[in-house]
Symmetry: C2
Subunit: 483 residues, 2 copies
């Protein structure tokens, strides 16, 4: 155990005074859930878990800790996939008690929420006000909005509505010295000086702690349709995407990609799923069309577009959902992939993006290189094709022990990320960097860009106490062990 | 004249060697056009005008100057409205020779251009590739894209496509020490560390000099329609906007506002304009609907929406363009306002934004306060209503000498900006800060936010040689004289 110095006792006493004794957690059993991340790749250690209930309390806690030279690791719903919320000493600062809906305004088309609000509850509050908050991803029932903002989360609605960054109008942020920056503006245009909120979106709590946000709302979807199509190749998927983007314009709201292996394991492992097309194909896409226009008929529009695509030889076969229930069933084929992968064995994962035109090249080259490196390995590159973002996961060979496979994590990172880099892509598309990719960021990052990032860190957090070791990390050593 | 020290001779010689003698301009007559901004509110002074032709030459020029302690003022098309491009000593660095189209890719839906490319030429290059680059504003025939990015320009397509910031995927930037940051990524998702491009968008050349950009393209518009409607009040305009936003969703691409005075002076001063509605009304809106969907019928959609709005009592009268020529004529009523204002006399101008729900309050309160302060003054608050952005310009009383009126610039700034600030708005919505609003920024800015801005400036430009005095300015003195 780390010996607790007298000054830490003093600090904890001051924090108990400010936050209330129940919200300074030091009991190891009570702390445990805050120290392990969702995939259990990392286990952290902390002196205490702080649970402030207000922005002022966050400010007090940060000021008290950083004055004492104690690091702070902000934590939302603990659903991150990079270890960004795992403490390596210092204090965990959980936003879980800051769950207030501050306001919602259907005329402004904005909602102002505290960072600890669960994403699904933000969606529900928007819906209750007659509007849509489009950010959405699998963990929406437990992810907190502050985490989504701090990681610039992506998800299933990016094609039409953008990433989390695109949905933020204003932020309230506690800085490294405990001061509060109030940038809670509800403006569509604001060029009054530097756009400070951009610093805190996607910087994973390393430059400040987001405590509240003003978010954009949109008219509610009134008509939507989903199709699942069979294709001859990833190259055909790209041609189809370009065709549909031109034809459906902003009504094309999702274009997700599955290789045959992904569909096979979903059908094998996810209860209630049914093969959507009579024949097997070399590639699949899930397509969604949606609009808020009351006169829009999304199903007719999608059917007509797919009909023309079949005529032009872009699609081998297509299944169009005939009802909301059928649409949901088709979405389940896509959303079931991560669960199916877990059941199929161990996976080595990559969350990458490339320019749209390079997607087929990437899938072909990375798949071939990985299979060549380990015969029997099963590449499963699926996901947000329309955003250029592939979850290029590798499922272990059937006969290999999981641990033996996972020991190759670094080797496959190198193979896949080298190809991504050569194609002008990103090794961290939507999940962020955290611990898991901080060494990769240094390896592939432009040196001038990395220097700029370090200058920003030094300017905003000169003592390096906000989520230390994440994103830019201490570059020496500490490559994280997978699983 | 500033005496030229020996070291400046050395510097100029080195610059002539690198850029070529023709591109280091020191002749006063040749320099003159670079020293006066479009509205002639400011006249600058500079040691020389540099015209580098490549990114490497920009890097050399910046390194050479900043090593010598000489300031650099980057300049695009010199169409800015805030004095951000006016030098107060040092060197002007014109991007006018960096006009290359580096690439355009209709599959990626991206275009990569150098900073000196004229906005209209970027639009034309996108069009030639079968795509749309939506950023557009009145000065598009001479504004350069680097200036639009550096000021986060707005314009007439923000409602559907966002500000310049929303259209930038990647940047190439020359930093204060002359190094080049290559962030020319063509990715829709990239969370590999801090999003550095955000620093340089909208910071008006004070943190770095944008030399090239990767921009987003969109499917071309295939159907569009325009209407000009008469309304009972600004409050009715807001109700109509909310109604149309819900009904037309992303197909509502413009909602511009005009008070009766604006329409009257356009009809008086702009040749070829015709009153669009039989009766006069208390407020007007120009509405555009557009889509790239081949089956979309924008005119029918707009007609149906307006019909319902009339039934619901939201609109007093409406004129729907029946052809592209008629649509253009309706647009001319909106786009003619600045010219008509110039012909009607002197104007004191404000480029402000408020939350959408506060627009009617703002227009009423600011109009009443200004008229109370100067009877006979004619408020002309018009513009991008759907973005919450009003050009709240004040036309002089008919019988007052222009100079006497313009001497009140600061007084009216105070009246208008106080109201904007009280309503949670921005005193610099789409034109930026430059020289004209730097003292206002300090007055109304959150002190914590201003401190963060100064830290960013110090981190990226420690010698304060990039466009010095702009945005954050030396806070002491130097309030710019109007006209």
């Amino acid at each position: 155990m780390t010996p607790i110095p007298a000054s830490l006792d003093t600090l904890l006493a001051a924090l108990r005074d400010s936050l209330g004794p129940r919200h300074v957690v030091t009991d190891p059993a009570d702390m445990a859930p805050y120290l392990v991340e969702s995939r259990k790749l990392y286990t952290g250690a902390a002196l205490a878990v702080l649970r402030p209930g207000t922005t002022e309390e966050v400010g007090f806690a940060v000021r008290a800790c950083t004055q004492a030279g104690i690091a702070i690791v902000p934590l939302g719903g603990n659903t991150g996939l990079t270890g960004a919320g795992v403490p390596q000493g210092g204090m965990v600062l959980s936003l879980e008690r800051m769950t207030r809906l501050r306001s919602v305004d259907p005329v402004d088309a904005t909602i102002t929420v505290e960072a600890g609000m669960i994403l699904q509850e933000v969606q529900a509050a928007a819906d209750a006000a007659g509007m849509l908050f489009p950010l959405s991803y699998a963990s929406r029932g437990s992810a907190r909005i502050g985490g989504g903002i701090s990681t610039n989360a992506g998800g299933i609605a990016v094609l039409a509505y953008g990433n989390a960054r695109d949905l933020v109008l204003g932020l309230e942020v506690v800085l490294a010295d405990g001061r509060v920056w109030n940038g809670l503006k509800a403006l569509r245009k604001d060029n009054a000086g530097y756009d400070l909120k951009q610093l805190f979106i996607g910087s994973e709590g390393t430059l400040g702690i987001v405590t509240a946000a003003v978010l954009k709302l949109f008219p509610k979807t009134r008509s939507s349709a989903v199709a699942f199509v069979g294709l001859d190749s990833a190259r055909a998927a790209l041609a189809l995407f370009v065709f549909l983007r031109t034809r459906l314009d902003r009504d094309l709201t999702a274009f997700e990609y599955l290789p045959p292996f992904a569909l096979d394991i979903v059908l094998r492992h996810v209860p209630g799923t049914v093969r959507p097309l009579a024949e097997a194909h070399s590639a699949y896409a899930l397509i969604e069309v949606a609009s808020a226009r009351p006169d829009a008929d999304a199903r007719a529009a999608l059917e007509a577009a797919l009909g023309q695509a079949i005529e032009e030889g872009l699609i081998a076969d297509a299944a169009l959902g005939a009802s909301g229930a059928q649409d949901d069933a088709l979405w389940r084929l896509r959303e079931g992939v991560p669960e199916a992968q877990t059941r199929e064995g161990a996976s080595i994962k990559h969350d990458v993006s490339v320019p749209l035109s390079r997607l087929p090249d990437f899938l072909e080259r990375a798949g071939a290189a990985c299979v060549a490196a380990m015969p029997g390995l099963r590449p499963c590159g699926f996901g947000h094709f329309g955003d250029g973002n592939i979850h290029f996961n590798l499922t272990q060979p059937e006969d290999m022990p999981a641990a033996e496979f996972l020991a190759q994590w670094g080797r496959f990172n190198r193979i896949v990320h080298d190809i991504v880099h050569a194609l002008g892509g990103s090794i961290a598309a939507e999940h962020g960097v955290g611990l898991i990719k901080r060494d990769e960021l240094v390896r592939y990052g432009d040196p001038v860009g990395l220097d700029l990032m370090r200058r920003l860190k030094a300017a905003l957090d000169p003592k390096a106490l906000l989520n230390p070791g994440k994103v830019l990390g201490p570059t020496a050593g500490e490559t994280p062990p997978p699983a």
